[in-house]
């Protein structure tokens, strides 16, 4: 049975629909990310779970109890904000103790629990400092500790790392995941950063324009995107428009692509074939593996990304990108004729509107 349950939740601000028909079940102890571009409704949904926004329709259930009309201070939900929102007039320890004080927890217990969470976020030495004396990453650790100190039923994180440097971001997200797993606390994590969502989540909810595009494990949303939006928002995908033919072939203008079987799409239907750049191999010679697709063209762009080099090839007027590891390639020069190959298994076929 789901621990946190959203049923048909809708929210509009004036004439702008922020969230429509949002239904999701979150199991206890899981970390679920809401991922999408800005304005997709992910933060609004989170704020409705927190109680800062009232849904226009739908219900929110927590542990079987309808909390839709419960005010935010009675929901027992911890929240971490992008802006940290630490109380500037209080020391770190006072900040962390605040929630316990509001619950009239005995003094001794308050102190010991505050110290415990402070230790959990590895900030033991900062108890007496004020927020303005801490770095952004440290402040967010304290904010996390403050939210955890009251042992909330659900932890909500609203783009918690967006204001931090890349290095701190990566370190802190691992910390968040570690603490979340240790405490087995049900967590909703809002982010627009796909890498972040894929790396820390049990489940990813991909959102666009107020609706859910796909719910799945990080591997699922990356490898088997349900919609074209998911395929292009998460990672990069080459898109080939064509028509379905024979259940495993797509006919494009200039070439044909052999794909894995797609039985449910009838022949003649307009489809799009999506192929990830890392699935495509670059070959100078024409040694195409048996059963693989092959496309030929001239190299137009070469961009070095560190671990891989992204090569853009002009295939009959369409730009196709392929990620090549250093080991797999000699130096590639612009204008060079190359052969791009990829297996049918790497092709994702989906219907498209004309």
């Amino acid at each position: 049975m789901a621990y946190l349950d959203l049923r048909g939740v809708c929210k509009a601000f004036g004439s702008v629909v922020a969230v429509k028909g949002f239904s999701l079940s979150v199991e206890k102890g899981k970390l679920v990310s809401f991922l999408g571009p800005s304005g997709c409704g992910k933060t609004t949904t989170l704020r409705m779970i927190a109680g800062f926004e009232q849904p226009d329709a739908g219900t929110i259930l927590l542990d079987g109890q309808d909390i839709t009309a419960v005010p935010p201070n009675r929901r027992d939900i911890g929240m971490v904000f992008q802006s940290y929102a630490l109380f500037p007039n209080m020391t770190v320890l006072e900040n962390i103790s605040f929630g316990l004080k509001m619950r009239h927890t005995p003094k001794d217990e308050t102190i010991s629990r505050a110290k415990e969470v402070l230790h959990m976020v590895r900030m033991d030495d900062t108890a007496k400092r004020y927020p303005h004396q801490l770095s952004g990453g440290q402040q967010q650790r304290v904010a996390l500790a403050r939210a955890l100190a009251v042992r909330p039923r659900v932890l909500l994180l609203d783009e918690p790392l967006s204001a931090l440097d890349a290095e701190v971001r990566v370190a802190l997200r691992a910390e968040i995941r570690r603490i979340q797993s240790e405490l087995a606390i049900t967590t909703i994590y809002v982010t627009h950063d796909q890498e972040e969502a894929l790396s820390i989540s049990d489940q990813v909810v991909v959102m666009n324009r107020g609706i859910i595009e796909q719910v799945g494990s990080p591997v699922q949303v990356y490898r088997s995107p349900a919609t074209r939006f998911v395929a292009t928002f998460i990672g990069t995908a080459n898109q080939f428009n064509g028509t379905a033919a024979g259940g495993h072939t797509v006919l494009c203008d200039q070439f044909r692509i052999e794909t894995k079987p797609f039985n449910l799409i009838p022949d003649g239907k307009p489809v799009v074939v999506l192929v990830r750049p890392e699935a495509i191999r670059l070959q100078a010679d024409d040694a195409v593996p048996e059963g693989w697709n092959a496309m030929r063209g001239a190299v137009e762009t070469v961009t070095f990304h560190g671990a891989v080099t992204r090569v853009g090839v002009n295939v009959s007027g369409q730009r196709v990108v392929a990620d090549v590891t250093e080991a797999g390639m000699k130096t590639i020069s612009l204008g060079e004729k190359v052969c791009l190959t990829f297996p049918g298994d790497a092709c994702q076929v989906m219907e498209r509107d004309e």
């Binding site: 927190a50 201070n73 911890g78 904000f81 109380f87 500037p88 007039n89 605040f98 509001m102 909500l156």
Partner: protein, 269 residues
């Protein structure tokens, strides 16, 4: 080049300071001069005018009345303005333009107009020409100062974020205001209180037209003396000015120790 620029800067600052300080200094000197209207420097020095001023039967009552007015205005202003400004910043952004407009009105409406209108409308007891009505008027008149000071302090902190963070931790509106918001904007509240205090302490028009002789404040007394004896009026100005300064410092001091003790209580928990 740089040297010259800084010389010009100093000249500008010096000019500004003398512009500000010259009248005050002149008043101070005038208040201890035996006579200063025929020569560049006073003809002699005396404390006679202070004796006259302090011996006036109205002096103490005027001082007391001015203090009551100022402190009452600060108190009412704190109770009315601070929660309002918080509300507008935290929840009701839509009302902000309206409030901004309202806060310009006291500058636009002359004191005479406000006073006469109030006297006309509230012509019944116990309000008619009473100190209560005067406090109401001075609060309105000095409201922009409190509003600006508190508003700026609220803008400087993340009101919405802090409010929501406190809410998610289980705090109700009362706790949020007293434990999070007010301590965070304390300097703004202090400077607002100071401005209100000083404005009301020196207020003449409203006091003259609303209560008049029935409730004489220090500025009324001062104006009376300018007609009788300029030297005594100068002495009164100096006293009033000094008192306003002392009161301001006192408020600042109370504020600082208050905040420190608040922090200490928090820490000891």
């Amino acid at each position: 080049m740089k040297h010259r620029a800084s010389a010009i800067q100093y000249a500008v600052i010096l000019l500004f300071l003398s512009y500000m300080l010259f009248p005050i200094a002149a008043t101070y000197i005038f208040s201890v001069a035996t006579r200063w209207d025929r020569s560049i420097l006073p003809e002699g020095y005396t404390l006679e005018w202070y004796r006259t001023a302090l011996q006036s039967s109205y002096f103490l009552s005027g001082l007391r009345n001015s203090m009551i007015m100022s402190l009452a205005s600060v108190a009412v202003s704190l109770l009315v303005v601070v929660p309002t400004v918080y509300w507008v910043h935290a929840r009701l952004y839509e009302a902000k333009p309206l409030l901004e407009l309202l806060m310009i009105l006291p500058f636009g409406i002359p004191g005479v107009v406000l006073a006469l209108a109030l006297v006309q409308v509230f012509s019944f007891p116990p309000l008619a020409r009473s100190p209560y009505l005067l406090v109401g008027a001075t609060v309105v008149f000095s409201m922009p100062f409190m509003y600006r000071a508190v508003g700026n302090a609220l803008t400087a902190i993340d009101v919405r974020g802090l409010t929501e963070a406190a809410q998610s931790l289980g705090a109700g509106t009362g706790s949020i205001l007293t434990q999070v918001i007010v301590p965070s904007i304390f300097p703004g509240i202090m400077s607002g209180s100071l401005l209100v205090f000083a404005t009301v302490f020196a207020e003449f028009t409203l006091a003259k037209l609303i209560t008049g002789a029935a409730f004489k404040t220090l500025p009324l007394l001062l104006v009376e003396y300018t007609r009788k004896n300029g030297y005594v009026a100068a002495a009164l100005s100096v006293i009033s000015f000094t008192l306003a300064w002392v009161a301001s410092l006192l408020i600042l001091w109370i504020g600082r120790t208050g905040r420190r003790s608040a922090q200490e209580t928090l820490r000891s928990r």
